[in-house]
């Protein structure tokens, strides 16, 4: 049993080492020409920007470089579980060449890419090559010791294996010994490959600039959140003051009058009683609406899934709801998601002219994904002051994002993503 296990683990290790060597070799074959080409084209293209030609070539070249870098990010994650975040600034879809070039050149990630290409063709190249060297080069040493030295030595002058000059059997054996020593280093191959990707991460990963950008975004969303909640509190205060509170005061006054009238004019007292009761009903209705606007009861009682289902039931449009949630997200996230869906649905009902709506709530890997699709006329945009912009701001507070796909003629699909882990 134990032997088998050991054999198994040896087998796995040997396979791991071999794999690392093969991957390292493959990397060296691609990286050197790739990095050289990318860097040269990139530099030339950027240098040609003042002339004008660069404006058109730069976006192409840099997109290629990004793809090359992204490919390496994928390899790093797949081969050595080294995660390198990608942090390119978004480029507007319909931007013309000059705008694209401008955005790309202003992005610190672009310059980081170019710096990385230089590292990749030197230190990166070596760290990728070493695993292959430690695994494959010893094989040559052993072959030399086994007799390959004869034809090699006869070929011409001296044959060098590493620093050993191979001329006869003893020196060939020395070469073999060197091969064995090198082979003993082979188990380092996977670690060397990891080191290669760590090096890539060190150069390619986000630096101070990104952190500053992140702080800026957080400050902005926090200000939005504070503004929104302050406005919300003002609205609630006003609604209470003008609505329920006023009605209760009126009711109290009516009751006072009724007390006075009870003996003198029972008929009038009765009329006022009916009025007081109506006031209490109205006050309750207003309080109920207010509560629904702050924290809908179904959301409190059942959570997001059923709250959205209840929302769908109230729509005048046939709506299908699919829910796949693992437990309940945090209350603030739940609430933000609910109101976002509510706003998007309101928009769809008001403007899309759709007669069917599909809502899909889905939670995977700490991400809450919601899509609202309708079969309406499309053409929805996130413009300043629109409901969708409001939703985007609301989600921003939670690092959530909103995407709208709405070609003219429809259909419209609004997708929201909120981290909830």
């Amino acid at each position: 049993m134990t032997i088998e296990t050991r054999n198994g683990s040896w087998g796995t290790r040997a396979r791991g080492i071999g794999l690392a060597a093969a991957r390292g070799l493959a990397l060296t074959l691609v990286t050197l020409p790739g990095a050289l080409l990318g860097l040269t084209l990139g530099l030339v293209s950027i240098a040609l920007v003042p002339v004008g030609i660069g404006v058109f070539t730069t976006p192409w070249v840099l997109t290629g470089v990004r793809a090359f870098a992204d490919w390496r990010r994928v390899l790093a994650a797949e081969w050595s579980e080294v995660r390198i975040p990608s942090a390119y600034r978004p480029i507007p879809d319909n931007a013309h060449a000059w705008a694209r070039t401008y955005v790309m050149l202003r992005d610190p990630a672009t310059w980081r890419d170019l710096a990385w290409l230089q590292v990749d063709m030197t230190a990166g190249f070596v760290t990728a090559l070493l695993p292959a060297v430690f695994v494959l080069y010893p094989l040559e040493g052993l072959a030399v010791a086994a007799g390959l030295w004869r034809p090699l030595a006869e070929l011409g002058g001296g044959y060098w294996y590493g620093f050993v000059h191979v001329t006869d059997q003893p020196s060939a054996l020395a070469a073999g010994a060197l091969g064995v020593v090198l082979l003993s280093l082979a188990p380092l191959a996977p670690r060397l490959l990891t080191a290669h990707f760590r090096l890539t991460r060190a150069v390619l990963g986000a630096g101070q600039g990104e952190l500053a950008e992140r702080v800026r975004v957080l400050t902005e969303t926090r200000r939005d959140a504070v503004d929104t909640s302050a406005a919300e509190l003002r609205r609630i205060e006003r609604d209470l003051h003008d609505g329920a509170q006023a009605r209760l005061v009126a009711m109290g006054m009516d009751l006072g009058t009724i007390e006075m009238l009870l003996d003198k004019d029972p008929a009038q007292a009765k009329r006022l009683l009916a009025q007081a009761r109506q006031s209490s009903v109205d006050a309750l209705t207003e309080l109920r609406d207010l509560v629904r606007g702050i924290h809908p009861p179904v959301l409190a009682e059942r959570g997001l899934g059923d709250a959205v289902r209840a929302l769908a039931l109230r729509l005048p449009v046939a709506t299908e709801v699919t829910v796949e949630l693992e437990g309940r997200p945090d209350a603030p996230v739940e609430s933000a998601a609910y109101f976002a869906v509510s706003e998007v649905l309101t928009n769809a009902v008001k403007h899309s002219g759709a007669d069917r709506i599909w809502i899909d709530l889905h939670q995977t890997e700490g991400m809450l994904r919601i899509s609202v699709t309708d079969n309406g006329r499309g053409g929805a945009l996130i413009t300043a002051g629109s409901g969708l912009a409001g939703v985007e701001r609301r989600l921003g507070t939670f690092d959530g994002v909103l995407a709208v796909g709405s070609p003219a003629g429809g259909p419209t699909m609004v997708t929201m993503e909120i981290p909830c882990a």
Binding site: R288, P297, V317
Partner: protein, 217 residues
């Protein structure tokens, strides 16, 4: 008639006890939490339960869940659910088993004592008492998309709303100040337009209407 009452706010519970007492109901138990309610429903076998949706300890829909569970153990157990707000979702869950004897009303409805007591009696007798708000939402929704309801006249719509709340022809006639025969004619028309079989049974009538309103979702 023996009632089990569940309401966590003391003032409201006290008021309900007095109201039901004044109308010759026997209060078998007046409890304030979900577990107590579950126990009371299982042990006391009341004729009707009047239950608040939101109860301790969870303060979510504990009351509703208790009522639904009790009805699973004892099918047809009459339950009148009260809530600060009405949701179609809950109304559907209550009506889902199709056995009748359910009610779902806004708490405000107790302001009109006579109507409220009438609703409790109707539910206890195996009928239904749905809040007008639920019915209105259902009708608004259906009217927007479906042809059959669009063909119904405003008067018939009024009758349909009252019918869906669980009222008998006599009660609808009294409410709309017309003869019972006129209502009978309206209901016959409504059933024809909705393609439903005519039935004298109030409960089946309401369930048929709700089932119709439910289909095509």
């Amino acid at each position: 008639m023996r009632v089990v009452l569940a309401e966590d706010l003391f003032l409201l519970r006290d008021g309900l006890v007095r109201l039901l007492d004044a109308h010759d109901f026997e209060i078998a138990a007046a409890v304030e939490s979900g577990p107590e309610l579950a126990r009371a429903l299982a042990e006391l076998e009341p004729d009707v339960a009047v239950v608040d949706v939101r109860l301790p300890p969870t303060h979510t829909d504990e009351g509703l869940q208790c009522a639904l569970n009790a009805r699973r153990d004892r099918p047809g157990l009459p339950v009148l659910v009260l809530s600060q707000h009405v949701e179609q979702l809950y109304a559907r869950e209550l009506l889902a088993d199709g056995t009748g004897g359910v009610g779902y009303l806004l708490k405000d409805r107790v302001f009109d004592a006579e109507q409220f007591v009438d609703a409790v009696r109707r539910v206890a007798a195996g009928g239904t008492a749905m809040d007008p708000q639920v019915i209105q939402q259902l009708l608004t929704r259906r009217a927007a998309g479906d042809l059959p309801l669009a063909r119904i006249t405003p008067r018939e719509r009024e009758v349909l709303e009252l019918m869906a709340q669980g009222r008998s022809n006599a009660a609808i006639a009294a409410k709309l100040v017309v003869t019972e025969r006129a209502i009978a004619k309206h209901t016959a028309n409504i059933f024809t337009k909705l393609g439903l079989e005519v039935s004298d049974d109030d409960n089946r009538r309401v369930l048929a209407v709700l089932a119709y309103l439910d289909q095509g979702r």
